[in-house]
Subunit: 614 residues, 2 copies
């Protein structure tokens, strides 16, 4: 099934997204308007993204000492995306937005991710502007967010520093009040920032008139020292070029200097930078430090920045899913056209092949089918999970009080999976896509090696695999007395009950029920001693097992939707979905045994090994 | 433990390689001479290989239309390797060789593979010359093999064609007798070859005075058509530059033309080429076709070429293991020096970290230790397996009649694992090495991303994963009435019996015995219907499970050697080895359940899915 059909089925038949238009916020919408947005995005992705995916891989961003040089296609893709209105798709009409449900926005963005994940970095601009919308002053919204939504400016997220990646409490960038009148600036309390930020995507470029950096920094306490830990962190708007209270460029460059570009394994279309704030390269207004405007309250920087964390992590999960999907479709096409070898015949050991027969296409070989079905099960399952989470975001924002409360809880538990699972298993899918291509897949003449390289980032950025696992087992499944996990279990059981009614699904339903019980008892066993060192020693295997159970649930639920549509859906597409579901239950779900075993045993083989023994 | 100590322990303490010097062929050798060879290789690898591994990745081979351009370091590395005598390490003294056991040769070559897998392609030259030694005439040995061993010339293996990769029976390169006197050429029966060869490593370069291509081609039958299938394939020596019967260049270029270079994901130091034979670019001696000399008998080309297949596949397994090992050591060093985050404290959900404490080094985090121990278990285990197989090659060549017969049988069964298992799991190790580095691992400033890219080739070349799996389940475990599998089982049971005597190993021994029985019953169940389509539908999961059982056995056997040396070996190294063994039994061996389940069920979910359903 092609991407659009897959998305249509998941969105409308499975997630009933059309029903969102009955809500007040989305009242002007209908399936027609949703489809029109998706048509536009699909077209732009096809015309402005897909043809240039290899170009941006080969023509990496370069820094000539003054400016970042990017290929023309990146400018064209950026312009087309901005003109589509997608930067502000979810915003109020008053902000120039479309008031589109997040579910549909996420679905429409799939086409760009599948066509070229790295040519655009618009997600960052939207995320930046969204954070300002949530925590900024009216003026900050009108000056900064509005100009990001309309495409004039771009945005970044400046969290990490060379010495502080996963450990944000250790950031050392300082922000000090800028003069006696610092508190009365129209753009917000004005500070001077000094520090170095690392891994800043789209941190410098000439794609837009200005760049709005959102920067985490510490305001010194009364003793002049930064407050230790995350409580000392505040959030600042630091524009690359200074602007007045109406958002006009003043002609002054702010002291934000590009210190260097990172040369990456993949995802090369997006500039990744080391930025120096306030080092004096561009001195401004006779004092030192880059000028920044406080957003929200001092000390609440992390909270403000992470306001959109669920959406950000869903975006990463979606990126990973779409890279996987792109590889799946490429390898499917290759398998359908490449002749090689012949079907196996004959008896054990003596199995012969008739060399007089013409060669088969490789899709006729069982192992190639296995590798294709695995990719389908991974990538369509991951897409379904992330669309489901996107739907929860809409529930949280526009559902009834109870729907919103449940959606929030479910998102707490599911977001680590929505981000980590596709990062790991759709990467594996990309490896299978290479394998299907054989030697050709190992060359840059085919796209699959690039998908694999691009996808490797997703287990690292926006919280590494290890961080997601600690979040899941250390916080999410135990928070509020385990309410999130209980709610998820109730949802899974509801699917199980429905599936038990279907002859074709009953045994899978039972298998899922057992797997869920297994995760439950592993969770208890992990925490049985109450000692986090023991509980969390195997947090990653726990997350892998948890993720597989979630995906099995998603597939079973999708299968129910497939069965409900039995007579309408094309027979082949129906069979494909059911086969992917069965693949997941036969080949994948049984893997949880090995993962959970070490969790239940609180196995300390790794955790207790002394350093010298490695 | 550093690579040399690991190899020393496996070679001398575990495999008793010193004992080989009691055999007549190796009588001049001793641990001292073995060590001297390894010292030399370790030094050359350190000086001429390791510093240039990134150079050859960045300065890919280029073709200027006439010549292939390679960086200077590749010339220097090639010269140093040739001067070390390693090209002919295993050859008779009479051929200028060292009569070194293959076990020691393989161990010594590890250092090059770990330092820079792609800067050298000497394995191909040795393999080529070895095939000529086994099947060529005396003159062919003296002219071609000898000049490869002494470093003057290099060699290639020309099997694949653009339309025939895994399916060699479909090669279309033709060889026709060259004139009436074709049979009386001093260099062997002379033919004219026409065809295209793909994926030819080191297929053209200026590193050596000449290149000796070993080419598979078909001699037309009496009807003028090539004989279908592999029976029609013959083997030819096709030199790039023509030589006389004494091995002197005649000054004539043979009609072998470089049609293009492949641009690869990794392994970039080795030129990979598309070669045209006899297309007329370099017409020679007023007739068309490239001149080639038949090796062995007509129709026995594949047999001659695959004479060294076990060694070739062990080399690939070793390459994969060493790439994994290089990543392990790089990530260990990084983990020991990089501060980030703090240990977990406190209670479930509320686990806090004291921000006033200095950061920990990341090796202090449990999940980093897990990723390190996984790498150690994968890579040292894979190295041990491949050294074990190398030892079997020596048994086969120099052991008693019974030892040789058993070694041959064991190699038949183990070679697909020795090649495939490291290709898959040491690639996974490389991914873990990237993960430990976080964002830094995703940049080209650290070596781990290159190891991962380089390693991805190993599941493809020298027989893909799918081909290895068909070989294992379709041929090797059923051949000769299952004798190979029975013999392997007997060896595994012998280890189990010994391990049962040790308190520390008894439960692992029982676990291994159960796993072995599980593989046995899965083998039977797969073939229960006698239908190869059903038996082989899940050949790859079978191979994965089989591989894990073999590796568990290897680790248990290594643990016995560790315990035997309890008082001598450094305590930390001892603990590390035992922990890696336990890791393998706790975290890895239980995975076989999921793999074998589909094999036993002869699950046809993938194999029977119609093409349109994908």
């Amino acid at each position: 099934m092609r991407l659009r059909s897959t998305i249509d089925f998941l969105l409308y038949d499975w997630l009933q997204a059309e029903g969102l238009s009955r809500r007040r916020r989305f009242a002007d919408h209908s399936r027609d308007t949703f489809d029109a947005v998706m048509d536009t995005c699909e077209r732009i992705a096809r015309e402005k993204y897909a043809p240039f995916n290899r170009t941006v891989d080969l023509q990496e961003p370069q820094f000539d000492g003054e400016k970042v040089i990017l290929p023309q296609c990146t400018y064209d893709a950026r312009r087309a995306y901005a003109e589509s209105g997608m930067l502000s798709a979810a915003q109020d009409y008053a902000m120039g937005g479309m008031q589109l449900p997040y579910t549909v926005e996420a679905a429409a963005n799939c086409f760009f991710a599948a066509a070229s994940i790295s040519i655009g970095s618009n997600m960052l601009t939207s995320g930046n502007a969204n954070a300002i919308m949530a925590h900024g002053t009216e003026r900050q919204k009108q000056v900064f967010a509005a100009n990001e939504f309309n495409g004039r400016w771009a945005g970044t997220m400046c969290l990490s520093e060379p010495q502080a990646g996963s450990s944000l409490s250790d950031i050392a960038t300082r922000a000090e009040p800028d003069g006696a009148d610092f508190a009365s600036d129209a753009l917000g309390p004005r500070y001077r920032l000094k520090g170095n930020k690392m891994w800043i995507s789209a941190g410098d470029h000439e794609l837009t008139e200005n760049i709005v950096h959102l920067v985490l920094a510490k305001i010194p306490g009364p003793d002049g020292k930064p407050v230790p830990g995350v409580k000392g962190i505040s959030l600042f708007i630091v524009p690359k070029k200074l602007v007045d209270a109406e958002g006009r460029l003043t002609g002054e460059r702010n002291d934000v200097a590009l210190a260097g570009l990172n040369h990456k394994l993949g995802w090369r279309g997006t500039t990744n930078t080391l930025l120096n704030f306030g080092e004096g390269k561009y001195p401004v207004r006779a004092a030192s430090g880059a000028i920044g405007y406080l957003v929200g309250k001092p000390g609440e920087g992390l909270k403000c920045m992470f306001h959109m964390m669920n959406e950000a992590r869903i975006s990463i999960g979606m990126a990973a899913s779409m890279l996987g999907m792109a590889g799946y479709h490429a390898s499917l096409e290759y398998a359908q056209s490449r002749p090689q070898g012949r079907p196996i015949q004959g008896a054990p050991g003596g199995g012969g092949k008739d060399a007089n027969q013409p060669q088969s296409r490789i899709i006729e070989h069982a192992d190639v089918k296995r590798m294709l079905l695995a990719q389908k099960a991974y990538c369509e399952g991951a897409l379904a999970l992330n669309l489901f989470c996107a739907r929860l975001v809409d529930e949280q924002h526009t559902g009834s009080e109870q729907e919103a409360a449940e959606a929030r809880l479910l998102l707490e538990v599911l977001t680590p999976i929505a981000k980590s699972w596709p990062s790991e298993f759709c990467l594996e899918a990309n490896s299978l896509a290479i394998q299907i291509h054989g030697g050709y897949g190992y060359t840059r003449d085919f796209p699959v090696e690039q998908y694999w390289r691009d996808n490797r980032l997703n287990m690292i950025h926006e919280g590494t695999h290890g961080i997601q696992a600690l979040d899941l087992l250390g916080r999410k499944v135990v928070m509020e007395g385990g309410k999130g996990l209980q709610l998820l279990a109730a949802r899974i059981n509801a699917t199980v009950q429905k599936a038990l009614q279907h002859e074709k699904l009953a045994c899978h339903a039972n298998q899922l029920a057992r797997a869920l019980a297994d995760v439950g008892s592993a969770t208890k066993a992990a925490w049985a001693t109450g000692n986090p060192q023991e509980a969390l020693a195997n947090a990653v295997p726990y997350m892998q097992a948890f993720g597989h159970v979630v995906l099995a649930w998603i597939w079973l639920d999708v299968a129910l939707a497939l069965l409900a549509k039995d007579d309408e859906l094309a027979i082949a597409a129906h069979r494909g979905g059911m086969a992917a579901m069965r693949y997941f239950f036969h080949y994948e779900l049984p893997r949880i045994g090995a993962w959970l075993q070490v969790v239940k045993a609180r196995d300390m083989t790794c955790a207790l090994l002394e350093e010298e023994a490695f």
